[in-house]
């Protein structure tokens, strides 16, 4: 899991938790690649990524000072207009949108608990600047043995991001939870309809426009493509 820093003042100053940026560069793949904003520090935004294919490999091969085109902030982020407690449940790379979520949640006066889940300890993310932190690993190599969802306490607000099976478990336990979903994207701006997210009530919403954050109960997790690299590796 690597962190990439981009100098992008406008994005940094306006991005909200759960929103993403769409990155393109030449020579590079034809389509841009969307990434959740991991952190934003005055002029810069950070993204966190793993090499899963052509795009991420190319990004990780970049050197200090290389230029990428950065469109954003895009999409609808988390809704934090609530008082009380918030729990941030993430699996693997699903931690990506959480640091901003913690920031905005605290700004909104919420008590923040992190729940980090991963297969093994070394896949866990270090983020811990919350009021409480819970670790969960499938193999028990750190913290609770088992899933992040099982390990998580209840809260007034639940935010989750991770593999599809985790989102399903979240929807099961907290129908009102807000989950960040990944899909392949063509445009990232709402015009191509390539990022369809299947809805329980039938039909599709656009991950890049109505999403990437949805109410757990609204989306049909079973119908989410299972073989998207992010969903698999997250």
């Amino acid at each position: 899991m690597f962190v990439l820093t981009l100098r992008a003042p406008q994005v940094a100053s306006t991005v909200r938790a759960g929103q993403f940026v769409n990155l393109g560069w030449t020579p590079g793949p034809l389509l841009r690649r969307p990434f959740s904003v991991y952190r934003s520090l005055d002029e810069d935004v950070e993204i966190v990524l793993k090499a899963v294919g052509s795009g991420t490999a190319a990004l990780l091969a970049m050197e200090m000072g290389d230029r990428v085109s950065c469109l954003g902030p895009l999409g609808r982020g988390f809704d934090l207009a609530r008082a009380g407690t918030v729990v941030l449940v993430s699996g693997g790379l699903g931690v990506a949108p959480m640091p901003l979520a913690a920031r905005d949640a605290r700004a909104a006066g919420l008590r923040v608990t992190w729940v980090h889940g991963a297969r093994t300890a070394d896949e866990l993310c270090g983020e811990a600047d919350g009021d409480g932190v819970v670790w969960a690993t499938d193999d028990g190599s750190r913290g609770v043995r088992g899933t992040a969802v099982a390990a998580a306490p209840d809260a007034d607000v639940v935010l989750a991001c991770g593999p599809n099976r985790m989102l399903a478990a979240v929807a099961e336990r907290w129908p009102d939870a807000q989950v960040a979903v990944e899909t392949y994207m063509g445009c990232g701006t709402g015009v191509c309809l390539g990022c369809a997210v299947p809805l329980k009530r039938g039909g599709y919403d656009r991950s890049c426009k109505e999403g990437p954050v949805f109410r757990a109960r609204d989306i049909d997790c079973a119908a989410l493509p299972s073989h998207l690299p992010y969903a698999v590796t997250a």
Binding site: L30, L31, R32, Y184, G186, V191, C192, G202, K209, L224
Partner: protein
């Protein structure tokens, strides 16, 4: 630098020859319109009479210099179009054509009739070629009689400009082009996407849930250019070139090959300024070569 970039196409006077291609610009309302001065016009996402859900994900796959899409013509149907979008279009300073679709020739006609005379609707682009719909699409576009029938049924119901968008999946595009020309089309658009496939080597099945998708992007440009050129050689009505146009040079190749205007699609996904850059680049080329208008650009159009 003042070059006359206007283009007279199938009953419409466009301020510039670069249009936004159907399905790649939504309804024009999704994105704040940067540099609309450069936008000659826009073709809306394909619409049917009734709402359509579209296909399950994954709907897109990237390929070398291209992308496959299988959206399945998801859309709200004509009534929602009239409610939500046409009123906005009526206030814009560039023409919006509606990309119309149907499963029978009659359906196309009905759709045109419903939209005819509605403020904001400047004309129609008949999609006889969308490769993603099992009925309709492919079938109409491959058969000169079916293609002509659709064109007639629309022509009968409207006096607005009628453009027909051709499919590349034919053995002789000239035959289809002539058929729809004599059926009353005001202009042709060449071309729609090519049918393609991509296999997931983990699941050992197609990556697209629809199995196949339409290939777009720079990869198809040389093929689209040839087909647009063949269509232009076959008919007297204007041809709008579309397929893989990313830079001004690409658009100029279509214009020289006999097209009167071009549409830009996939390129706008990557570069939100693509249309403006293509427009300005064409003007710059004309200026550099000493032409004062688009009409003066030499055309290579042997009629043999």
């Amino acid at each position: 630098m003042t070059v006359d970039m206007s283009a007279q196409i199938g009953g419409l006077l466009l301020r510039g020859p670069v249009l936004a291609a159907s399905g790649t610009f939504g309804y024009g309302t999704e994105v704040p319109l940067l540099e609309r001065r450069a936008l000659g016009g826009m073709v809306s996402k394909g619409i049917f009479l009734r709402p359509r859900e579209g296909t399950p994900p994954p709907r897109i796959v990237e390929t070398p210099s291209g992308m496959l899409n299988a959206i399945g013509l998801q859309g709200p149907g004509v009534e929602a179009l009239l409610r939500e979008y046409t009123p906005k279009w009526a206030e814009w300073d560039f023409p919006v054509l509606v990309n119309i679709n149907g499963e029978t020739a009659a359906e196309y006609g009905e759709l045109a009739a419903r939209l005819d005379g509605v403020p904001g609707v400047a004309g129609f682009e008949i999609n006889i070629s969308c490769p993603n719909v099992e009925q309709g699409g492919l079938y109409f576009g491959n058969d000169p009689h079916a293609a002509a029938a659709v064109t007639e049924s629309v022509r009968k119901r409207t006096n607005l400009p009628v453009w027909v968008k051709l499919t590349p999946m034919v053995s002789d595009i000239g035959v289809i082009a002539r058929a729809v020309e004599s059926a009353g089309a005001d202009a042709l658009c060449a071309i729609n996407t090519f049918v393609g496939m991509s296999i997931d080597l983990n699941a050992y099945r197609p990556r697209l849930s629809f199995r196949t998708g339409g290939l777009s992007g720079p990869a198809i440009r040389p093929l689209a250019l040839h087909l647009a050129h063949q269509a232009a050689r076959a008919v007297r009505i204007p041809v709008i070139g579309v397929g893989g146009i990313t830079r001004a040079e690409d658009a100029l190749e279509f214009l020289v090959a006999g097209c009167s205007a071009v549409q830009v699609g996939t390129a706008t996904f990557v570069n939100p300024r693509a249309i403006a850059e293509v427009h300005d680049g064409i003007a710059a080329h004309l200026h550099a070569k000493g032409f004062s208008s688009l009409a003066e650009l030499p055309r290579y159009l042997p009629r043999d």
